[in-house]
């Protein structure tokens, strides 16, 4: 029986705005086991970033949240802020998309790292600095004792992202949530960063949730995948199940929309239409207006329930494809 590090159950997140209530997450269910990398995939408006922020309770107070987020048996949504402070950065760490805006520009790398380390562990400044240099070395930054004295703007995008990862692992977290960690980086740097993340999982046993829209990254890095669409996890499974045995029309559409690398096609298969408005989403299944498997009277009235194809493969659909 695998150890579940994080389990999200029936998560619902609505935001009150001037234009109306934004129904960002409707019924999100996903989990991460110890030592595994879960990819959360989806397009604009699917709710993947909101999910990550909700886990760490980083949402504003215009949000209405219900459901459960279980981390080591504790429901994070019920913890007082004082308890959450001990979890953020120490038990669960986050890496954001834009390393320039998530590192403080007026402090050196060393100062920011030691700040985090001393916040969460009882060590002296010297010991914290030693640890800082150690984690910079772990993320393969050359000359870590030189880098500690540098400011973020003196480093390249790839180096900054490595500093972010170093910061995330500095207090030995059980779980890292990486929100589009390589989207802003060149492809060769991306390959290096993904290698570091894979290493963290293999050598340190850290569980990772990687949020991305890049299916190539998911195929190469992840053990399991959760595909999100407009506030739901519409399909989830091992990376083989999702890439080779996807049954949800949206997942299939997404996979076919990527230009294939090893064959020549004239036209890419498209999913017609655009992502739905979250203030007034479509009735029933939110994907129904774009779905080629749409059943009138069912898909536009009843939201789908979670069903299981196997122990690992789940989906939410009234009319999925047959398994190949």
């Amino acid at each position: 029986m695998k150890l579940r590090v994080l389990e999200i159950k029936n998560l619902k997140v609505y935001f009150k705005t001037e234009e109306g209530i934004v129904k960002a997450l409707e019924n999100v269910n996903l989990h991460v086991d110890k030592g595994e990398i879960l990819g959360v995939v989806g397009e604009t408006g699917c709710g993947k970033s909101v999910t990550a922020l909700t886990v760490l309770r980083l949402l504003s107070n215009t949000s209405e949240i219900s459901g459960e987020i279980l981390f080591e048996e504790k429901n994070l949504l019920e913890l007082p802020e004082s308890e959450m402070l001990k979890i953020r950065g120490k038990e669960i760490a986050m890496i954001f998309q834009e390393p320039m805006t998530s590192l403080n520009p007026v402090f050196t790398v060393g100062q920011q790292l030691t700040d985090v380390i001393m916040q969460h562990t009882k060590v002296s400044k010297e010991e914290a600095l030693k640890r800082a240099i150690e984690v910079l070395r772990l993320v393969k930054l050359p000359d870590p004792d030189y880098i500690v004295n540098k400011y973020p703007h003196e480093l390249s995008g790839g180096m900054r992202q490595r500093v972010m990862i170093a910061m995330a692992i500095s207090c030995n977290p059980k779980l890292i949530i990486a929100d589009e960690p390589t989207t802003a980086l060149d492809v060769t740097i991306q390959a290096q960063i993904l290698g570091i993340l894979k290493n963290l999982k293999e050598e340190l046993g850290i569980s990772i949730i990687i949020i991305t829209h890049n299916l190539g990254v998911v195929a190469q890095l992840c053990d399991r995948v959760a595909v999100m669409y407009s506030g739901y996890v519409i399909e989830s499974g091992t990376v083989s199940e999702i890439f080779q045995q996807a049954i949800h029309p949206y997942t299939r559409g997404l996979l076919k929309a990527i230009p294939p690398v090893d064959e020549k096609v004239d036209k890419l298969k498209v999913i017609p239409g655009i992502v739905p408005n979250l203030i007034s989403p479509p009735s029933g299944c939110r994907f129904h207006p774009r779905c080629e498997r749409f059943i009138d009277g069912r898909c536009n009235i009843y939201p789908p329930e979670i069903q299981y194809l196997s122990e690992t493969h789940s989906f939410m659909c009234h009319n999925p494809y047959e398994l190949l």
Binding site: E43, T44, K140, L141, P142, S156, G157, G158, M159, D186, V187, T188, I189, Q190, A191, Q192, L194, G195, I196, K198, N199, H213, N214, L215, G216, V217, V218, A219, Q220, L221, V239, S240, F243, Q244, G253, L254, L255, A257, I258, P259, P260, V261, D262, V265, D266, K267, L268, K269, V270, I271, P272, I274, V275
Partner: protein, 334 residues
């Protein structure tokens, strides 16, 4: 394969430089994002330009269209030298040389309706008289998959993909021969990207357009391009037919670049190499090959001499001394 022998666009040792300060206290230095680039683009083909940050691909696209003024070299459009034409003289050419930008959110004027945005080129290029204007606008809009009801709306009322369609409409309304597409799908979701790519392919066939498709997304470039040029720090280091470049990867940089792309294929798992080499900044001075510090195949002469382009296969050239014996210097893309 080349669609035709007619050269629509040609550059000869095109140079674009900027004088910049590395930081507040330093002296300004010259950087050369386009460092004597020579290329030819044939009618009806799509030339893909790939490369990472600082390689100069965007600067190249803009300099070719004279949106940035070249600092050296020549640009020929349809055989005519347009390098030093005045802006007034360029007007006649701009009808035939258009651009689609990366960011659909900042490339459309937020205070103009779609009708106004498409009316602009008609007015500037005198494409038709006032009575024919609405028909031309509607026809162009329909060509990109939008319709009548969209004409009175403003850009902010559309999604990213729709805005990009409007940007494409604006580019094709003057019936250009050549379009520079600068990362046209990078800001879009995967499924929307597919829609725009299909649209671009369709329009290319329908109107016999020639594209220069700039992107960092190698799988997209591979799908849409007939030939690919790989850029590194201001130079084209490899250029050839798409499949030949993609599968042969002659230049050491091309090898690293293409093998870094994560494949959405679970059966082909990549080994992530934990090396730490990065692209040097444009401020770095090189006496010889610019790739020398990162190159696993470097020889002594690489630090001291600049390699020329050497032919490695049909229409395929590589800027690397490894291929000097096989090919002769010179040929397309010097």
């Amino acid at each position: 394969m080349k669609k035709s022998e007619k050269v629509i666009l040609k550059t000869e040792e095109l140079l674009k430089s900027f004088k910049v300060k590395k930081n507040f206290f330093s002296e300004p230095q010259w950087i050369y994002p386009v460092d004597k680039v020579s290329l030819e683009i044939f009618e009806g083909e799509t030339l893909g330009i790939v490369g990472e940050s600082g390689c100069g691909k965007t600067t190249l696209g803009r300099t070719i269209l004279r949106l940035l003024e070249p600092n050296g070299g020549k640009i020929y459009f349809n055989g005519e030298d347009i390098t030093n034409l005045t802006h007034k003289e360029m007007r006649n050419y701009r009808k035939h040389m258009q651009i689609v930008f990366q960011d659909p959110y900042s490339s459309l004027n937020p205070r103009m309706t779609i009708y106004d945005i498409l009316k602009r080129p008609i007015k500037i290029f005198k494409l038709c008289d006032k009575t024919q204007e609405p028909d031309l606008i509607l026809e162009t809009l329909r060509n990109v998959g939008l319709d009548k009801q969209h004409l009175i709306r403003y850009p902010h009322e559309f999604s990213g993909g729709q805005r990009q369609r409007i940007a494409v409409a604006r580019a094709i309304i003057s019936k250009p021969k050549f379009i520079v597409l600068d990362e046209p799908t990078s800001a879009l979701d995967v499924s929307v990207q597919a829609q725009i790519i299909n649209l671009l392919t369709e329009l290319r066939e329908k109107h016999n357009l020639t594209y220069m498709f700039i992107s960092h997304d190698i799988s997209v470039v591979k799908h849409i391009s007939d030939r690919i040029a790989v850029m590194y720090l201001g130079n084209i280091v490899e250029i050839g037919p798409t499949d030949s470049v993609f599968y042969n990867r002659y230049h050491p940089y091309t090898k690293i670049l293409i093998s870094s792309v994560p494949l959405p294929d679970v059966k082909k798992k990549a080994e992530f190499k934990l090396d730490t080499s990065e692209v040097p900044s444009l401020f770095t001075k090189f006496n010889g090959c610019k790739f020398v510090d990162r190159c696993p195949y470097k020889m002594d002469k690489c630090s001291d001499e600049k390699p020329a382009m050497y032919k490695v296969a049909q229409d395929h050239y590589v800027r690397c001394f490894l291929y000097e014996k096989d090919g002769k210097g010179g040929g397309e893309g010097k």
